[in-house]
């Protein structure tokens, strides 16, 4: 019941801060738009808007980026249903039934199914986050550097091996991210490392240009390539609409399916690295297997939209559990949120749920980190309602409007915003060059089966992982054996090893199944 009381307190704190409410509602809108723009994702939106959060207080900043992550996931369904172009990888499953439904003159029915399912999934995931994170944090509070190193290493290996198509390339993505993160001055010995003899590199790499390069500039390069090859097609809205309404009876019929898919999405979301795309296809496959009308799936059934969309948005909340309880980002959105927490002087991890961990803002206000986290949860709940309302009644209009935006004007402006945002992080022209460099790196990674998401998450994890490793060895009398002697640390390392072994076996079986 503590969590319920704290959540009520969170709502009081949220509604006591008009700026936080404004940015929560704005985020719901911005996320839908970015998610619906083919090729752009919530991660790209967050990367570009991250510098804006430097000028906000901790709650508006966190609420803004957190809710963009939620509504951006939902926005991808608009592009998938209307344009047959998934805004996010996860929306590809929605496209299989959503687009055929839009083509036969039921785009509103398809969009509203996606909205209802997304909201249902997101609320389920958020409730699991609120109660799950509080419960897990009670246990992780006692962890020291030994356990943390094991957790970071497990996350590193798991993310590297499961995020991409190739295990080796996924692991290489994490190693490259870690090496880039280690550029700068070593915090323990104050020794400059990997600076290539330059003074400018001593401060290390900033997350903002890296994110902008990997997620935004690489996408601009890909969109430039596509110019002239593809155009957006408003598939269905212009045609005659028949039975284009979602009835209350249909929604009621979908509830058990949405519940099952949301639970699947939530559990997948808790695993670092396994994101929405896995959840969507697992939920779609499972519900199709259970369905009586299997043959109709893929031709435009509402169940085929509701299952992946519920799972897609159910991932959002639980993917924050590793971040809030262990300080391990399970997704790129969580990785960015670590940066926002740190900018506002808040250490991420189980102590976030402490009543005595006080935060003082620039305006002199103070509150505990527990109050802040519950206000963030409240913002998440408000944001879900906001994007649900906007999407339910405004989804078709948003889709129509996006179809009218000429890409040859849109992407140059996204490029300009990316340049300005890269500069604004540290007022450094070098950061603009770094963003451009990582744009090229991100483009090459996407073309060769590397995993940009694993690269970014490893960039965030590498320094704390190295610090906990060195601290653990300082405390150890048995050298590196301490990681095996401590049962919790050993358990996490075993889980990491097991995941890699299972993944290797899975890939080998898959390779054998494909005839040469």
């Amino acid at each position: 019941m503590d969590a319920v009381t704290d959540l009520i307190g969170g709502f009081q704190m949220l509604f006591g801060d008009p700026q936080a409410v404004f940015f929560t509602l704005l985020a719901a809108f911005v996320g839908i738009i970015f998610g619906a723009l083919p090729g752009l994702t919530a991660s790209a939106a967050i990367a570009m808007l991250l510098p804006l959060s430097f000028y906000l207080g901790p709650l508006p900043a966190l609420a803004f980026l957190y809710v963009i992550g939620k509504s951006g996931r939902y926005g991808g369904s608009i592009a998938a249903i209307l344009f047959n172009t998934p805004g996010t990888a996860a929306s590809a499953a929605t496209m299989m039934d959503g687009h055929p439904m839009a083509k036969r003159g039921q785009p509103n029915r398809a969009l509203r199914t996606a909205t209802v399912a997304s909201v249902f999934g997101d609320y389920t995931g958020e409730i699991i986050l609120i109660f799950g994170a509080v419960w897990i944090a009670q246990y992780t509070r006692t962890f020291g550097p030994t356990e943390y190193f094991a957790i970071y290493l497990m996350a590193f290996v798991v993310i590297g091996s499961v995020v991409g198509k190739s295990i080796v390339k996924g692991l290489l993505s994490t190693i490259l991210g870690a090496l880039v993160a280690l550029i700068g001055t070593d915090v323990i010995t104050n020794t400059p490392r990997l600076t290539f003899g330059t003074q400018d590199m001593r401060d290390g790499m900033s997350l903002v240009p890296l994110l902008i390069g990997v997620f935004v500039i690489s996408e601009i390069i890909i969109q430039a390539e596509r110019m002239g090859k593809e155009t957006l097609v408003d598939a269905g809205l212009a045609d005659e609409h028949k039975n284009d309404r979602l009835s209350f009876g249909e929604v009621r019929r979908l509830i058990p399916l949405m519940f099952r898919s949301s639970i699947m999405g939530s559990f997948i979301g808790m695993m670092p690295g396994l994101g929405s795309s896995v959840a969507c296809f697992v939920a779609y496959g499972e519900e199709k297997r259970r369905a009586a009308n299997k043959d109709d799936w893929g031709k435009g059934v509402i169940e085929g939209i509701a299952a992946p969309e519920s799972a897609n948005n159910a991932v959002s909340g639980p993917s924050m559990i590793p971040l809030l309880t262990l300080g391990v980002p399970g997704s790129t959105v969580a990785a960015v949120l670590i940066g926002v927490f740190l900018i506002h002087g808040i250490q991420v991890g189980p102590l976030l749920f402490s009543d005595t961990n006080m935060i003082i803002t620039d305006t002199g206000d103070f509150f505990s980190s527990r109050e802040l986290i519950f206000a963030l949860f409240a913002a998440g709940l408000l944001g879900i309602a906001a994007y649900g309302i906007m999407g339910f009644w405004g989804g078709p209009l948003i889709g129509k409007t996006i179809a009218r935006i000429p890409p040859n004007y849109l992407y140059p402006f996204i490029f300009l915003t990316a340049v300005a945002a890269s500069y604004s992080a540290r007022a450094s022209v070098l950061d603009v060059a770094i963003a451009l460099l990582f744009g090229v790196v991100g483009y090459a990674m996407r073309r060769t089966d590397f995993a940009p998401a694993a690269f970014v998450i490893a960039f965030v994890l590498a320094r704390p992982m190295e610090e906990s490793f060195r601290q653990a060895l300082l405390l150890s009398d048995d050298g590196a054996l301490i990681f095996l002697k401590e049962p919790v640390a050993g358990g996490f390392l075993a889980v990491g090893a097991l995941v890699v072994i299972l993944r290797i076996i899975g890939q080998r079986r898959q390779a054998r199944a494909i005839p040469t």
């Binding site: 490392r193 430039a224 402006f413 340049v419 300005a420 500069y423």
Partner: protein, 170 residues
Amino acid sequence: MNYRSHIDLGVATTVIIIGAIFALEAWRIDPASYEAIGPRAVPVFLACLMIGLGALIGVSAFASKDQTTAAEEADFGFHNSDIPRVFAVIGAGAVTTLVFWAAGYLVAMILGTLLMLWVFGVRAPLVLILVAIVAGVVYQFVFMGLMGLLDPRGALIDLRWLSRLITPGS
């Protein structure tokens, strides 16, 4: 050898070169520390691991019996890439960054818009010029005026007299 193997060999070479550069740079780190594991250990280990995994990709590419063709792997590799356009975007970005360093933010924004519009197929001269100027003014006003960012002096030419017409306080 199929298309994927060719690309993977290129990937392996690139990874090994990057790993070697990091390994050499990591080896130059002063290892002195009171700790059992100093500041050099982790970077050296990661760079060596990178070289090793790069070599593994190379060996796998040589040993691969996969017969998939370029056409079957639409999203892999560069056969579907419009390389001139890719270089055009990178070139426009590089010129924008260089002009940002040399002449400051406002001029870089105007030139950057103009170049990117050109890359994305806008050819009407009046539209190019007008949109670029309006975009430059708006981005100057939003980022330097509203957000209060530092308007940097160009390293070669100081054109802040121009940007101060839009944001006098910057």
